[in-house]
């Protein structure tokens, strides 16, 4: 899983790129999108003008060196904020690039409409083109298999070394560019124009070209703008106040006070946090179509999970064979095995396994006609050479066959069927020549660790719902055993849809994962729809995320990433604003001490001089940004301990911490600055 990921936070190449970007992003047009930092840029420009004015002989603003240092620190504040955004982008881009690298410029063999094969480059393939891949080929681009079946090594994108099978039709027909065909031959139709694959879209999102602010990000930006505005008011009105008090304030002091008070810490880190969220999703091998989807994931109330493959290990296994009264166990086992010899479903194989090889070897189905399972008959089986008709299938289908032939459905079998169902098993009834022979018990095996995961989700406030085709009794048993909160039994695609709509009607946000084309409407309806990469194109189009690992439990990780994203914003906002208290106590006395010496009483940090106090506050304000970059990129830890406990914890760390840390930081910086002044 981790072979294609870099785990260190900063890599030298990324840092280099980000440094260059930090300067490029100083462009006011780019800065304008971030109102907090834009005002800092204006302040920096004013300080630059002040420095020039001093060089030309302006007197009242203090020494050139002091003003120039203030200018440099403000510039550094801007660069730090830009760097935060740039490094987040660089990391996301590097992550996406490593995925993209594999698929660039691979040779492709296009199948022309006249049947000829033409060798072209993958980048020349257009949507709707068909190409052919054989064992050993790299798949040129994303597409859907229209003919054939192949084993494919997808480790380039998933990191999973075990090969997977992809085949035309059905829900496992998608192939991804850059993966390798290990066996067989397939025809693939291209599903995207070049440059428009999910990955390309994701890269564009990370790079900021098409990055739109999420609703919470917009609301937070408004709040931060409001805080900025309050401090604009505070600083502008301070001028006449100070004039009245005969306490002239230099431009440098004004701008320093302003820059320190506005929430530059969160303002500088805000976009980095958002990008890092998408990047974390990508690191979890999930491609998101928008930042909003990640954020919404954090709010999910209801999670729909398919039973098979998610809660239980994909396949059911036969665990017991019960003969009907009047049929010998031996005869029954023979019938059961005969009906399953040609059945290569995992269930069928497990029946043969259970009966034992020696039984199977004795029997033969040579010359028999195989009857495949269909949705209508809901049975499968064989008609032997001698005309013996053996079927196995769902109990109601079997019952119908028996009753229609004028036979009874024995009481003890009916009992057994109920018993098996209520124990979470699936009963398969065996019929020989329209007579009931007995019941095979199939049991689901629940994946280890699922119970703990559901418990964790419950603590997060997420309700888990198991979706299964099983009958209600079986479903209930497994639901209880696995620890899910609710289940949809005998689920048809529209049941999922209705369940989602119903929950949404009650104001809940619903997430689901799916792969099949029949999942597509539900994926589109769900607030967060995660399509598996192996799924059909329709499913991938309908959802708002694609999971490259095809791991159904990935949703849990996605929810945590969403929560982390919001929390990181919230806590850093709190931290940033709490810092203001200390900055006030540093700067306000410094502004007025010359005119009103008694205000020395407010200098509770006992800072060296007005100049050193102002410089220390601005320096602290600047360096806190790079110090917090790692936190912004990694995200604040999420623990499912309940909303109130999280608030308590974060308020303590980032609220109280935000109150105290700057007092210490500013004092320490002042001790150093005092040496030079």
């Amino acid at each position: 899983m981790t072979n294609n990921k870099s785990n260190s936070l900063f890599e030298s190449k990324q840092v280099k790129d980000a440094l260059v970007q930090s300067f490029v992003k100083l462009n006011p047009k780019v800065m304008f999108k971030n109102p907090v930092m834009f005002t800092v840029e204006i302040g920096t420009a004013i300080m630059f003008a002040v420095c020039i004015a001093i060089l030309f002989g302006a007197q009242e603003q203090g020494s050139f060196v002091y003003n120039f240092i203030v200018f440099l620190i403000l510039l550094a504040t801007l660069l730090f904020a830009n760097f935060a955004e740039a490094i987040a982008e660089a990391r996301g881009k590097a992550q996406a690039d490593s995925l993209r690298k594999t698929r660039e410029e691979t040779p492709a063999r296009q199948l022309l409409p006249n049947g000829d094969i033409k060798n072209i480059s993958s980048s020349a393939l257009k949507k709707g083109d068909v190409f052919v891949c054989e064992a050993g080929d790299l798949i040129a681009t994303d597409g859907e298999i229209i003919e054939g079946l192949a084993t494919i090594d997808e480790s380039a994108i998933t990191g999973e070394s075990a090969p997977v099978i992809r085949e035309a039709g059905g829900d496992k027909s998608s192939v991804t560019g850059g993966t390798k065909v290990l066996s067989d031959k397939i025809k693939v139709i291209v599903t995207n124009e070049p440059g428009e694959s999910f990955l390309d879209k994701m890269i564009a999102l990370v790079e900021g070209a098409s990055r739109q602010k999420t609703p919470n990000e917009i609301a937070l930006t408004i709040l931060l703008a409001a805080f900025t505005l309050i401090f604009v008011i505070v600083c502008v009105t301070l001028k006449p106040f100070a004039d009245y008090a005969n306490a002239p304030i230099t431009i440098a002091a004004f701008i320093s006070l302003f820059v320190c008070l506005i929430p530059t810490t969160i303002g500088g880190l805000l976009s980095a946090i958002g990008i890092a969220g998408m990047d974390r999703a990508l690191r979890a091998n999930v491609i998101t179509k928008s930042g909003k989807a990640v954020e919404t994931a954090g709010d999910i109330d209801v999670l729909l999970l398919d039973k098979t493959g998610t809660i239980t290990i994909g396949n059911r296994k036969a665990t017991s064979l019960y003969a009907t009264k009047g049929i010998s166990q031996e005869d029954f086992i023979q019938s059961a095995v005969l009906s399953s010899l040609a059945d290569d479903t995992p269930e069928g194989k497990s029946i043969v396994e259970l009966a034992g090889l020696e039984v199977a070897q004795k029997l033969s189905i040579e010359g028999a006609t195989l009857i495949k399972f269909t949705a209508e008959t809901r049975t499968s089986g064989v008609v032997l050479k001698d005309g013996t008709n053996i079927r196995k299938g769902a109990q109601d289908a079997a019952k119908n066959i028996a009753l229609q032939a004028g036979n009874v459905f024995p009481e003890d079998t009916a009992q057994k069927v109920i018993e098996i169902s209520s124990n979470g098993g699936t009963p398969l009834v065996v019929i020989k020549n329209d007579q009931i022979q007995g019941v095979i018990e199939l049991q689901d095996i629940i994946k280890t660790g699922m119970k703990e995961r559901f418990e964790r989700l419950r603590k997060m406030g997420v309700k888990t719902v198991m979706v299964t085709g099983d009958n209600p009794l079986t479903a209930k048993f497994i639901a209880e055993k696995a620890g899910v909160d609710d289940f949809i039994a005998e689920a048809k695609p529209e049941d999922k849809m209705n369940y989602i709509k119903n929950e949404q009607q009650n104001g809940k946000l619903v997430a689901m994962m799916g792969d099949g084309t029949n999942d597509a409407p539900a994926l589109a309806q769900a607030d967060v729809g995660v399509a598996m990469n192996s799924g059909t194109q329709a499913a991938k189009e309908a959802g708002n995320m694609v999971d490259l690992d095809n791991d159904p439990t990935k949703l849990i990780e996605i929810i945590e990433i969403g929560k982390q994203l919001l929390m990181t914003r919230g806590t850093l906002t709190t931290f940033s604003i709490a810092n203001d208290v200390a900055k006030y106590f540093a700067i306000v006395p410094a502004l007025f001490i010359a005119a009103i010496p008694a205000l020395q009483g407010l200098n509770i940090m006992n800072l060296h001089s007005p100049e050193s106090a102002i410089l220390s506050a601005v320096i602290f304000n600047a360096i806190i940004i790079p110090i917090l970059i790692p936190l912004a990129l990694r995200g604040v830890d999420y623990k499912p301990i309940g909303a109130e406990a999280i608030l308590k914890r974060n308020l303590l760390i980032y609220g109280l911490g935000g109150l105290i840390v700057p007092f210490i930081g500013i004092k320490l910086i002042d001790l150093v600055v005092a040496i030079f002044i």
Binding site: A219, I230, D243
Partner: protein
């Protein structure tokens, strides 16, 4: 000393205890539930609705509510403005007091319409009895408007999705008839028996012990003073407000008047709990407000009891505490307590001279109005607090990793935008107003029409104290408080018009904002609470709201306070 503190504490506790049943009663009134007094009030209200042609059962959405609210206020403003302008020649003017100047009439009319009662005049010489009656009418209806607005927000917070939020006139009339009138009657009777006048006769002439003959103003004061406190208006019948011996004759009336101004703001918070069946939420809100209140009141009372350090340095013992500007019958403890109660609650009636309070007390009085959400005025206190809740919910929602919700409704960009705007408005009005005045004072500008003389002449004191006087006047206006630091020459076009504008904006925008938010939220889908929801009725959320209030309200005023009362405090120390 101890009896003084005992008096303060017992008045405070009695007010809280009585506020709970009254809160329950208020909730019933707004819910339309049966109460004991239905047989008395039903016919009265029926009659009022009938003659005014109002269908009190017609439900309104938040925009219709605002339209109704703003239009009735506009009508009252013009009525009051013209009465004041021509009072000299109208009836009920036995003392032959003159007409008001247009700028003073403008300021006074606005000031009483907005429940502020900033008085740039003295009642004895500035108003006819007719004007007093009109102002008294405004004291009732402006309080009822605030309460009706709060009731609309209560309604909007119910667990459902709707845009129908009750009928404005229904809430408004019932606030008058069922809440304000009966409570005022109780207070008026208590005042009447303690010696407050209630007459329409002209000034009385009495002969003092020295043998001089003195003219004593009187009038229909008892009812006026009752609603002045019950409705948290604060406008005095006499110029000296509740320091005047006829307006507040004894320690007992002082206690009654204190209770009267505390009771509705207290009870409204409990009413919220009863109304929504969220008692815990109301206790948390009340707790946050009380902690804020105590943090302001305790330093004030201690400072006032300790006396003035400057006098102490002269070697004079101050056994009675700081008595400058205070009434001997009340003493420093209850006067200090009153000064915070009246500023926290936007009453603005005074029983001592705030200009003479110790600098620390002055800072606390200012802070109380700058925050303007600890209890707050009749109904509107809750509206201000609501804004801070919205902001706190938003930030703490992010902190726990979930899109913020408040009572089952998602808080999104639009609500945050409105809340942030209202939160900015208060510092904007106060600081820019004070900046304007300071600018003129700093340059000692000749003011022409705006003020008779140079700008510094409107200050009674130079330096930091003068700054506090200007800051106080705008703070009091923006908070719709109405108390004066005094010492400021404020009856002139400059102060009448600037504070008049601040009063208007400071009243109606903070009503429109919360109503809009509540209306928008009411229309959103209701989301039932889940394990992941951040509960708002917990102490930790209370801490969060308190922090938001402290940061927004207190921090933005820190530099201004430093130049005013804090500079004085440190200089005096």
């Amino acid at each position: 000393m101890n009896t003084e503190l005992f008096g303060v504490i017992s008045i405070f506790i009695i007010s809280i205890v009585l506020a709970i049943p009254i809160g329950k009663y208020i909730a019933k009134v707004y819910l339309g539930d049966k109460t004991l007094f239905d047989p008395i009030f039903n016919p009265i209200e029926k009659f009022i609705f009938k003659i005014s042609g109002i269908n009190s059962t017609e439900e309104m959405n938040w925009k219709q509510h605002l339209k109704a609210l703003l239009s009735v206020n506009m009508a009252w403003f013009f009525l009051c403005f013209f009465v004041l302008l021509f009072q000299g020649s109208l009836f009920l003017n036995p003392d032959n007091n003159p007409n008001m100047t247009p700028d003073l009439a403008f300021n006074t009319a606005i000031s009483f319409v907005v429940n502020c009662n900033l008085q740039h005049f003295s009642g004895e010489t500035g108003l006819s009895y007719l004007s007093q009656m009109v102002l008294m009418f405004l004291q009732f209806v402006s309080a009822a408007v605030g309460m009706a607005a709060a009731a609309i927000v209560f309604n909007a917070m119910k667990e459902r999705t709707t845009d129908k939020l009750g009928n404005f006139y229904n809430y408004f009339i019932k606030s008058c008839t069922r809440i304000l009138l009966p409570l005022s009657a109780i207070v008026a009777v208590a005042l009447l028996f303690s010696g407050t006048p209630m007459t329409f006769e002209e000034k009385d002439t009495i002969t003092t012990l020295q043998g001089d003959s003195v003219q004593v103003s009187r009038g229909p004061a008892a009812v006026f003073i009752a609603i002045k406190h019950i409705g948290t208006n604060g406008g005095g019948f006499f110029g000296a407000n509740s320091a005047h011996p006829l307006e507040n004759p004894t320690y007992f009336t002082n206690a009654v008047e204190l209770w009267a101004q505390l009771i509705i703001p207290f009870a409204m918070i409990f009413a919220l709990g009863f109304y929504l069946k969220k008692r815990k939420l109301s206790y948390i809100i009340f707790g946050v407000m009380t902690i804020g209140f105590l943090l302001l009141v305790i330093p004030t009372v201690i400072t006032e009891l300790n006396g003035n350090p400057a006098i102490e340095k002269m070697g004079i013992a101050q056994t009675t505490g700081a008595m400058e500007g205070k009434e001997v019958r009340f003493g420093p403890a209850i006067s200090g307590f009153w000064s915070i109660a009246t500023t926290v609650i936007s009453t603005g009636s005074v029983n001592s001279m705030h200009d003479s309070s110790m600098p620390m007390s002055g800072a606390m009085q200012l802070l109380a109005m700058m925050v303007n959400a600890f209890y707050g005025g009749c109904g509107v206190g809750w509206l201000n607090f609501y804004i801070f809740i919205i902001l706190a919910v938003f930030i703490s929602g992010l902190m726990v990793g979930r899109t913020p919700e408040f009572v089952g409704k998602k808080i999104e960009a639009r609500e945050v935008k409105i809340a942030a705007f209202i939160a900015i408005l208060h510092p904007l009005l106060i600081l820019s107003g004070t900046a304007l005045a300071s600018y003129f004072a700093a340059n000692d500008t000749a003011m022409g029409y705006w003020f008779n003389g140079n700008a510094t002449d409107w200050l009674n004191n130079p330096g930091n104290h003068g700054f506090s006087e200007m800051l106080y006047e705008f703070t009091s206006s923006a908070a719709n408080n109405g108390s004066g630091f005094e010492g400021l020459g404020d009856n002139n076009p400059f102060w009448n018009i600037t504070t008049g504008i601040v009063l208007l904006l400071g009243r109606f925008l903070p009503i429109i904002g919360p109503l809009a938010i509540a209306g928008l939220l009411a229309n959103k889908k209701y989301i039932p609470e889940s394990a992941g929801t951040l509960k708002t009725d917990t102490p930790i959320f209370g801490v969060m709201v308190f922090a938001v209030i402290a940061i927004i309200a207190a921090l933005s005023f820190f530099p201004a306070l430093a130049l005013g009362p804090l500079a004085e405090y440190f200089t005096l120390k």
